[in-house]
């Protein structure tokens, strides 16, 4: 089904440890983030927000605000020239609330002022006439009959199912059944750079928007919608982006409309940089989840049936919830064979901040339940946690929970065996006075790319151009946000064209350079932009080889392009010509050394009635083994060591892969043990890093990354996307380790010292 794009026998750059091409500028502080851009006449924007989770909007003191020193304009819903809508999956979210505000922090009005100080002072004087209404602030009560309606008839944005086999029969015949209710919290992305946008009205009736973002084409669509402009008149350029983790997928569209509305109204450039507090209360989060999960196995430890019924708290608007929910159901059985599956998943509406994308995209929640269940099944059947996984792991030829037959690139068992071998013997449970040690594991998988849930966006474009001096520039539609894409794609271009890595340069991602390439999400950049670049490079290679054939008086089919030269193959001795000479000759002949590439994925399917289909083109696989120690007097769980084996198809950049494993693992630790957005009656209480704690470098354990390579024939050089996967299985592995250490199973995250101590004192699970 998928063509082999490119596999060389011994590529020099692929699989190497090329240093990141953006590292120096970021470490030295020369990289320009959006807050570093300033233009003459530029206005500063402040956002007036709803103070209540639900309220009827009756007016504001905007006339007064406009008289304040330095204030140039205000914008409210009635001033929006286009449609008051930020299109994401659906079109239910307004740019500025009108009639009713639906969450605390929802934007209601905008202030444009000459200085950031004037904007801030005016914001402090802003008053909304808002009549507070009763709000739905508990997602578990959103579906109650008497709950107020935030969305539709039942506060359900989306209900997805899997129906496979017959679970009743399987549960009746099972040797072991395990049941649990799992609760997972919000998680805040905590990217280093808060959200920010700069909108520049151009003299020709178009507008340029720059900023921190993952998805320039989403931003383009949102700005065109609110301004009532054709897409052609909105150009979006990504500025250097200081971290994202999914938090800059959908919400930058909203931020961009805020800057653009002030710019459009005043005809002046307008910039908006969020404060951290504003960012935390109003930007997307990982969906909190409540999961009821039941699993059945036979006496041989084979998984027979799974029944799951769960909700994700979508918040006040649908935003990405329908697709987050979709990814979660595809991962709802884990990487296991299971003939009987019944899953009901709902994204519910509440008067809370809209939740969106976060590394793993709905899968960490459900995988937490899946992997805690597997350990409990193992315990019930008297087999080791590793053994029950070994007996159930998907292999080539098996069907997933959505009925997809796996055809290749399945490294699940290899990650398990390699992680086990590296982890060795578990440390003794007695870890000194008042300390208990434990080991836990998780085995997970990740459907790479957008899959059937986002198939309409599953395409990418790229351009490549060789310049006269032998250097090359390339452009793609996906973005660098700190994940290392620019380096990996630079390696691919350098490898394909035989050009030195440091002579290859990626231009800033810009909607005017390449066609709409979809979002930079779903761990898709290496494979999608990589494939588009391979296609863009192919005609350039052909031209280079053709011209070189003339110089070397050889058939181009007998030539190889390696770093810096073209060589004959099969002649003794080989004859060679320097690549620069070939390029010189191309320019002398006026050959075109610029080319475009386009790539789209094919073959994914999904039936909404049954939840069956070929959900993703391929899957990445991973096993985590975690050693922890619990201080039984203070309840503190200390992670000592994590062995993480990931099947990535092919590691284009080994250091990049290891970096992703280390970073994701620590982020997963935060999710497991530390991170908690405290939301009281719909209002976030800890909107600062002094109160929302993420792990520091000092909290990071010893992390041992293991790279497994089961090449995927649809990926460049066999690569699969996997950047999200390192986070996804850490929380259940830690919960399993805690259960191993102290015999108490936590089914709610985070596993804080307060909860551990309370459980130890009452000797019951929380």
């Amino acid at each position: 089904m998928f063509k082999v794009m490119k596999t060389q026998s011994n590529p020099s750059l692929i699989g190497s440890r090329v240093p990141r091409s953006d590292a120096r500028a970021k470490v030295c502080g020369t990289e320009k983030f959006i807050a570093d851009y300033s233009l003459p006449g530029m206005l500063h924007v402040a956002v007036i927000r709803s103070p209540v989770p639900c309220g009827e909007l009756r007016g504001s003191n905007r006339q007064y605000l406009e008289t304040l020193p330095g204030v140039v304009a205000t914008v409210f819903a009635e001033d929006i020239p286009g449609e008051n809508c930020v299109p994401i999956v659906w079109r239910d979210m307004p740019a500025l609330a009108t009639g009713k505000a639906k969450y605390a922090g929802e934007p209601v009005g905008l202030i444009g002022a000459e200085t950031a100080e004037a904007a801030r002072r005016a914001l402090a004087m802003a008053k909304l006439d808002i009549h507070p209404l009763q709000a739905v602030t508990d997602p578990e009560k959103a579906r109650d009959n008497d709950a107020l309606k935030v969305y539709g008839e039942d506060n359900v944005f989306s209900h997805l199912v899997i129906r496979r086999g017959n679970i009743e029969k399987a549960f009746a015949e099972a040797a072991a059944v395990v049941e649990g209710t799992y609760r997972t919290p919000y998680q805040e992305h905590a990217y280093l750079e808060p959200q920010g946008m700069l909108a520049i009205p151009e003299g020709d009736g178009s507008i340029t928007v720059m900023g921190s973002m993952q998805c320039p084409f989403y931003v383009q669509s949102a700005v065109a919608t609110v301004l009532g402009l054709p897409l052609a008149k909105v150009r979006v350029i990504q500025a250097a982006t200081g971290g994202a983790f999914g938090g800059k997928e959908d919400v930058p569209s909203l931020v961009a409309t805020q800057a653009a509305l002030i710019a459009w109204k005043t005809g002046r450039p307008a910039r908006l940089i969020y404060s951290r507090e504003e960012d935390i209360i109003s930007m997307s989060k990982r969906h909190p989840a409540v999961i009821h999960y039941r699993s059945a196995a036979d006496s041989a430890g084979r998984l027979l049936a799974v029944e799951a019924d769960y909700i994700l708290d979508g918040g006040a608007y649908a935003t990405l919830s329908p697709v987050v929910l979709w990814r979660s159901i595809v991962h709802s059985v884990g990487p296991y064979r299971c003939p009987n599956v019944k899953v009901d998943a709902r994204a519910v509406a509440t008067n809370r901040v809209p939740c969106g994308a976060f590394r793993g995209f709905g899968s960490p929640q459900i995988l937490f339940a899946v992997e805690c269940q597997m350990d409990q099944l193992a315990a019930k059947l008297g087999v080791e946690p590793a053994e029950i996984r070994r007996r159930n792991l998907l292999a080539v030829g098996d069907a997933t929970a959505t009925g997809q037959i796996l055809k290749n690139s399945v490294g699940s068992l290899e990650t398990l065996e390699k992680a086990l071998a590296a982890a060795g013997v578990a440390p003794s449970k007695e870890a000194g006075e008042g300390r208990r040690a434990g080991r836990g594991m998780s085995t997970i998988f990740y459907g790479m790319g957008l899959g059937a849930g986002g198939v309409h966006l599953a395409r990418t474009g790229a351009t490549v151009q060789i310049l006269q001096d032998g250097s090359a520039i390339f452009s793609v539609g996906t973005t660098e946000m700190g994940q290392g894409m620019r380096t990996v794609l630079g390696q691919i271009v350098a490898e394909e064209l035989g050009i030195a890595f440091n002579c290859v340069h990626m231009t800033p991602t810009d909607t005017s350079r390449v066609p709409d390439s979809g979002p930079t999400v779903a761990s898709r950049s290496t494979t999608m932009s990589g494939n588009a670049l391979l296609r863009a490079c192919a005609p350039l290679r052909e031209t280079l080889l053709h011209v070189a054939a003339g110089i070397l008086e050889a058939e181009s089919a007998n030539l190889v392009l390696t770093q810096g030269k073209v060589e004959t193959r099969g002649t003794n001795p080989p004859r060679a010509v320097e690549l620069q000479k070939v390029i010189d000759e191309c320019f002398r002949r006026r050959e075109c050394l610029a080319s475009e590439g386009w790539y789209r994925t094919e073959g994914t399917t999904f039936d909404r009635a049954t939840g069956q289909g070929d959900a993703y083109v391929a899957y990445a696989w991973a096993t985590n083994i975690v050693d922890i120690e619990v201080d039984t007097e203070t309840g503190v769980v200390e992670v000592m060591r994590i062995v993480a084996a990931h099947d990535v198809g092919r590691a284009v950049n080994l250091s990049g892969v290891e970096g992703q494993i280390e970073g994701g693992t620590v982020q997963g630790m935060g999710y497991a043990l530390l991170e908690e957005i405290l939301c009281q009656d719909g209002i976030i209480q800890n909107s600062e890093f002094g109160l929302y704690h993420i792990p520091t470098a000092e909290d990071a354990p010893k992390i041992e990354p293991i790279v497994v390579e089961k090449p995927f024939d649809g990926g460049p050089f066999g690569a699969k996307g996997f950047g999200e996967q390192p986070l996804m299985g850490i929380a259940p592995a830690i919960a399993n380790a805690v259960a191993d250490a102290i015999g108490i199973r936590f089914s709610e995250l985070p596993i804080t010292p307060e909860r551990v101590l309370a459980a130890l004192n009452s000797k019951t699970a929380i």
């Binding site: 530390l674 405290l678 209480q685 000092e698 909290d699 010292p753 307060e754 101590l757």
Partner: protein, 281 residues
């Protein structure tokens, strides 16, 4: 507009403070500038202490140690005098914030900010330290245990300047321990912190001072437990009793950082660990 005053010495600083609405004192700024961020109008005028050399230094003076209020946490952490005579204070300083915060933040700021969770305060109270307050017209000395009135509130008046902190030179046989529990290993506010300074003789407590943070509106001593321990020989049973007694002496609350149950329990655990560490000396 923000007014920034930069006095050249202590006398000038005190003169600038001797007005009705004196400027805010700015040393390291690690607390003050965070407060100012959201509310700059409230912080329109600053007195920057950068050039006031009378506030600098950590000195051993005959039978006491005197620390200028502008000594940074890093200076305290690495001070050879404090490492030798009052390691409890050096260890507490090492637990504060990050390297960047420790390089900027000062002992004076940590004291006048009067957080119930401030990490230097229990150590200083365990050392029975005294604050030296100067205004243009008078000087006074206040024992630190009487300095705090509540969260963010102290006896220091707006036109007074905390010039230094001093305490009696600890006997070489004294032993001090600082322990803290925060949400993570670094860059974190304490959920509970404790400092113990004691003189032991053959495992018998000659005297002991116990100070606890984040378990009451101010950092507090545990006088009942201290008195009860005095003259007794430390044993595991005795330590267990002290642990229970301390839990009775504190009045923690549930807030965004932790719960009353957790704080009460862990305060006892930290005291137990501090006493055990004395036992092993």
């Amino acid at each position: 507009m923000t007014q920034i005053l930069v006095p050249k010495d202590l006398q000038e600083a005190l003169e600038l403070l001797a007005i009705d609405h004196p400027p805010r004192l700015l040393a390291g700024g690690t607390d003050l500038l965070v407060l100012r961020k959201d509310n700059p109008e409230k912080f329109a005028s600053f007195l920057v202490l950068e050039n006031v050399r009378e506030l600098c230094g950590i000195h051993k003076e005959n039978n006491r140690i005197r620390i200028g209020s502008r000594a940074t946490h890093s200076e305290i952490e690495h001070s050879s005098i404090l490492m030798k005579y009052a390691p409890v204070l050096a260890h507490a300083a090492a637990e504060i914030g990050s390297v960047q915060i420790r390089n900027r933040g000062t002992i004076g700021g940590n004291i006048v900010n009067a957080s119930p969770a401030g990490d230097l305060i229990p150590a200083l109270i365990a050392l029975d330290a005294v604050a030296e307050l100067h205004s243009l017209y008078r000087k006074r000395e206040i024992p630190l245990r009487e300095f705090f009135l509540g969260p963010g509130r102290t006896v220091c008046r707006l036109n007074e300047l905390l010039v230094a902190i001093h305490f009696e030179l600890p006997d070489a046989r004294e032993h001090g321990v600082f322990l803290k529990i925060g949400p993570r290993k670094a860059v974190a506010c304490s959920k509970v912190n404790v400092a113990v300074q004691a003189l032991m003789h053959h495992r018998t407590v000659e005297w002991i001072r116990i100070a606890l943070g984040a378990v009451a509106p101010t950092v507090i001593r545990a006088p009942r437990t201290e008195a009860w321990l005095q003259g007794k020989r430390l044993s595991p049973e005795l330590i267990a009793e002290a642990r229970a007694m301390v839990r009775e002496e504190i009045s923690p609350i549930t807030d965004i950082r932790s719960t009353v149950e957790y704080r009460r329990h862990v305060a006892g655990v930290l005291i137990e660990r501090a006493l055990e560490s004395s036992l092993s000396k």
